[in-house]
């Protein structure tokens, strides 16, 4: 097999390269810049061009080679190229081909367009490695337009009552989507993590206010605050009172998660594929062998085996979670990297 699952991560022996390794290695291909995929300590990095600035912002001065989508390179006879994964800016699926054997390592992906990230592109292969964060049929996400509208309506309604709208979403990916979706003349205040991430991404910050210690309540009166999961329940939030709290996450699909988060509103906004998305992605690759990681992998692999007659198996990953752990991880992971 061209690809092996080792305790350092997904490994291609022929090219001597790891994909999103968990431990320091010589050569690493990074699918995207989220902290559970992009780690420090590797000697050489390869990633998509749009990941360059954010990787350097997060990992420091690394030795990084970048590629555009569809731009091929060779490593010891292995043809390697990157394809859009639609997850966040610069996220890529990695296609590896050697002597007619084709693998696609999809990293994290979503199939539905968010009107911001380059959309997911299916890649034909024999062997497909897929995530399964939302690999249960209860996770079918509404269209981005519907969610964006309810977000804007909610903000308007809060402002009419003189309330600030505090929105929680993670700094890389979600925050930019939210900012793109906002249709408002209200002042928008960004937590410094988000402001700095925007800067690293080259995302235009000129319309937004960066939070600093000089913050005065009157700046908003009322307005919008965008922060990350680590701010939830922290005294930092107190200064924005009176406010309503909204959380943007795929986990908000479940009433239990919504209520437990103590948010006033949950907006179902995810950068991962929902159930329909996972299924269409797997189908469109035409792969006979499917390796399932991250999430409800047991159920999703069983579904693909029994109902889709595919050779599907689950793959152990370092970071396993069940529901709430994923949720906390998703909400917090960004800040761990700062």
């Amino acid at each position: 097999m061209l690809i092996q699952f080792t305790n350092k991560g997904i490994y291609c022996r022929q090219a001597d390269v790891y994909i999103d390794p968990w431990q320091p290695v010589n050569k690493a291909i990074i699918t995207h810049a989220h902290s559970d995929h992009a780690r420090v300590g590797n000697k050489e990095y390869l990633a998509h061009t749009q990941s360059e600035n954010i990787l350097k912002y997060r990992l420091g001065n690394i030795s990084l080679q970048t590629l555009n989508y569809h731009q091929p390179i060779q490593m010891n006879g292995v043809n390697i190229s990157l394809y859009p994964a639609g997850h966040i800016l610069g996220s890529a699926q990695v296609r590896l081909e050697y002597k007619g054997e084709v693998w696609v390592v999809s990293g994290d992906y979503k199939v539905k367009s968010d009107h911001y990230t380059v959309p997911f592109e299916p890649v034909k292969c024999q062997n497909f490695i897929t995530e399964s964060t939302f690999g249960l049929p209860i996770y079918n996400f509404p269209e981005a337009e519907v969610v964006n509208k309810s977000l804007n309506d909610w903000i308007k309604q809060n402002a009419a009552q003189g309330l600030n709208s505090v929105i929680i979403g993670y700094a890389l990916g979600k925050a930019q989507r939210i900012l793109e979706a906002l249709q408002t003349d209200l002042p928008v205040l960004l937590h410094s993590t988000i402001y700095n991430t925007n800067e690293a991404l080259g995302f235009d910050n000129s319309k937004y206010i960066k939070f600093t210690q000089e913050f005065k309540k009157e700046i908003l009166n009322p307005g919008i605050v965008l922060a990350t999961g680590t701010s939830l329940g922290s005294p930092w939030m107190k200064r924005f009172e009176p406010y309503k709290l909204g959380i943007c996450s795929g986990w908000m699909q479940l009433r239990g998660s919504r209520r437990r988060s103590n948010a006033d509103m949950g907006f179902i906004m995810s950068d991962h594929a929902d159930w329909a998305g996972l299924n269409s992605a797997v189908k469109d690759t035409g792969a006979e062998n499917v390796y399932v990681t991250h999430g409800y992998k047991t159920s999703f692999a069983k579904w693909l085996r029994e109902e889709k007659k595919l050779n599907a198996m689950e793959v152990e990953t370092l970071f396993e979670g069940e529901g709430i752990e994923n949720e906390t991880k998703e909400l917090n992971q960004e800040d761990g990297a700062q």
């Binding site: 049929p137 209860i138 239990g256 998660s257 437990r260 709430i324």
Partner: protein, 528 residues
């Protein structure tokens, strides 16, 4: 259905009582009265029984979602709520419906007697058209699990606000056995005719646990002190030569207490007594365990009626000669109650004895003594108090005896439901019995959300075995468990059952070696 669903989600999204009242008031202002009457019924707990078997619901939802059954079960265990699971599995994008709550509910009432095929056809006619949030509320209604985060009091207040009425009056009008399918909103709220419903009870006046110092209560002689009996709070109503018995939960329980039937010939018409129904034999109150045995029976055999006879310990008089005397002072009502029981004696009616105590300092002694009498503690009622509606602070207080407590170790965990789905929050605790650990109680409540998440994470890392949804875990975390009563129970492996167990606190300072033993429980049992 759309407006009612909107109301449901508004109530679901806020914890502020004022916002809840406003949301309900907005609904009542705009809704068709035939829908409003159903909304009132559902919001005050008058939900219909489950018309369709859960097994059928699961099966049909699985078919409609086009997934294998195991995947349905897997999804259900993650969501933790059947109604929600089904609403998430059925594809509902781009739907919008215009069916009314009244139509849905009237159809529900007619579905019980239909064949399984007819039920399925009916159900699919909704599952195929309702939008996702409506589908969720609809499923809540037909799974019999409809509950909403608004107390009855708030519903009364919202109605009072909308229709410009007094909320206590609304509370009274909404008591009793009215049925939404044959009651008009106008009739329910504005009808003055007393003969409208002989069975209608008064809203119960409930007390809070005493949490203010005695100095704030003033002179002890202004207070009527009674024991807090441990039975079923109820109202006996005699009107037009008929008798009705209501429990505090607003269940009409007349049939459960056939021995009280003779009271309709003893008490004058237009009498309503508030009291505690107790198992009582040969001059002694029996345990609450006996009460449960009696209540649990579907068929009341002669044997059980002789074994566990009941009486009413009378606390208060609410209606005298057909007149509502709740606005009179407790002192006056007590005089009338004594007179009534004196003039119309029956062995079924006992007068709740007044406790003598002239100094606050001595009250605790009295409270502790009450426990040896099979009571839960004391009631303090201001002698000038009127009979209020619902739970209120100020003039009535209950002062319960502190609960029993025991330190136990967590051994099994299961994920919770609703808000707690996907978290392991339902725990089984064990105490030590020689070298083994013996399960002794299940408890769900008492921890903060933060603690729940912390324990959840611990459970996932310390699972020994999985049995379906249940996990056994390392016996390491110690908790202090409080409970109200303790009894012998052949149904439990340990041979002891405790009443209303809950988690008092997480004892991070204690090791599993330090937990209590079965012997400690037996000592408690002996002391009762």
């Amino acid at each position: 259905m759309k407006a009612f669903t909107q109301l449901y989600s508004e109530l679901d999204q806020t914890t502020k009582t004022n916002s809840k009242i406003e949301a309900m008031s907005r609904y009542f202002e705009t809704a068709d009265p035939v829908d409003s009457i159903w909304a009132i019924a559902l919001l005050t707990g008058r939900k219909p029984k489950r018309p369709i078997r859960t097994g059928d619901l699961k099966l049909w939802a699985t078919e409609l979602a086009n997934i294998p059954f195991w995947l349905f079960e897997e999804s259900y265990s993650v969501v933790g709520d059947l109604a929600e699971t089904i609403s998430l599995l059925i594809p509902t994008a781009f739907r919008s419906s215009s069916v009314s709550l009244n139509t849905v509910m009237n159809e529900v009432l007619n579905i019980y007697t239909k064949t399984v095929e007819q039920k399925k056809e009916w159900l699919l006619s909704y599952w195929n058209v309702l939008a996702q949030d409506e589908l969720f509320v609809f499923n809540k209604l037909i799974t019999g699990s409809f509950r909403v985060g608004a107390s009855q009091q708030l519903v009364f207040k919202a109605l009072a606000k909308t229709f410009n009425l007094d909320d206590k009056l609304v509370a009274h009008k909404l008591m009793g056995g009215w049925l939404p399918q044959n009651t008009a909103l106008k009739e329910l709220l504005f009808n003055e005719d007393k003969s409208f419903d002989d069975s209608r009870p008064y809203p119960f006046y409930l007390a809070y646990q005493l949490d203010v110092p005695f100095e704030e209560l003033g002179n002890i002689n202004d207070w009527q002190i009674e024991q807090k009996f441990d039975g079923i709070r109820g109202q006996i109503i005699v009107r037009n030569n008929k008798i009705f018995i209501w429990s505090r939960g607003e269940d009409l329980m007349t049939d459960k207490f056939p021995e009280f039937d003779s009271l309709k010939n003893i008490l004058p018409n237009g009498t309503v007594i508030d009291g505690e129904i107790l198992p009582f034999k040969e001059g002694k109150i029996l345990s609450f365990n006996d009460m449960q045995k009696r209540i649990g029976r579907k068929n009341l055999s002669k044997k059980i009626l002789t074994e566990i006879p009941l009486c009413m310990m009378c606390y208060d008089l609410l209606e005298l000669n057909g007149t509502d005397i709740r606005p009179a002072s407790l002192h006056t009502r007590r005089v009338e109650l004594e007179k009534l029981l004196n003039d119309h004696p029956s062995s079924l009616l006992k007068l709740s004895p007044l406790q003598q105590c002239n100094q606050w300092e001595q009250l605790n002694e009295l409270r502790l003594y009450s426990k040896t009498q099979g009571c839960e503690g004391l009631m303090l009622k201001h002698k000038q108090s009127i009979y209020e509606t619902g739970r209120r602070r100020g003039n009535w207080w209950k002062w319960k005896v502190d609960p029993y407590t025991i330190d136990a170790v967590l051994i099994y965990a299961q994920s919770g439901h609703g808000r707690r789905a996907t978290l392991f929050t339902d725990y089984t605790f064990a105490i030590r019995d020689g070298d083994t650990l013996m399960p002794f109680a299940k408890a769900y409540s008492g921890l903060t959300d933060k603690e729940l998440v912390e324990i959840d994470t611990w459970i996932k890392r310390n699972t020994l075995e999985k049995f379906g949804p249940v996990r056994s875990v390392k016996a390491e975390l110690v908790f202090e468990i409080a409970f109200e009563g303790i009894n012998v129970s052949p149904r439990h492996k340990i041979g002891i059952a405790v009443r209303f167990p809950r988690i008092l606190r997480w004892r991070k300072d204690k090791k599993p070696e330090e937990i209590n033993t079965k012997n400690d429980l037996l000592q408690l049992l002996k002391a009762v």
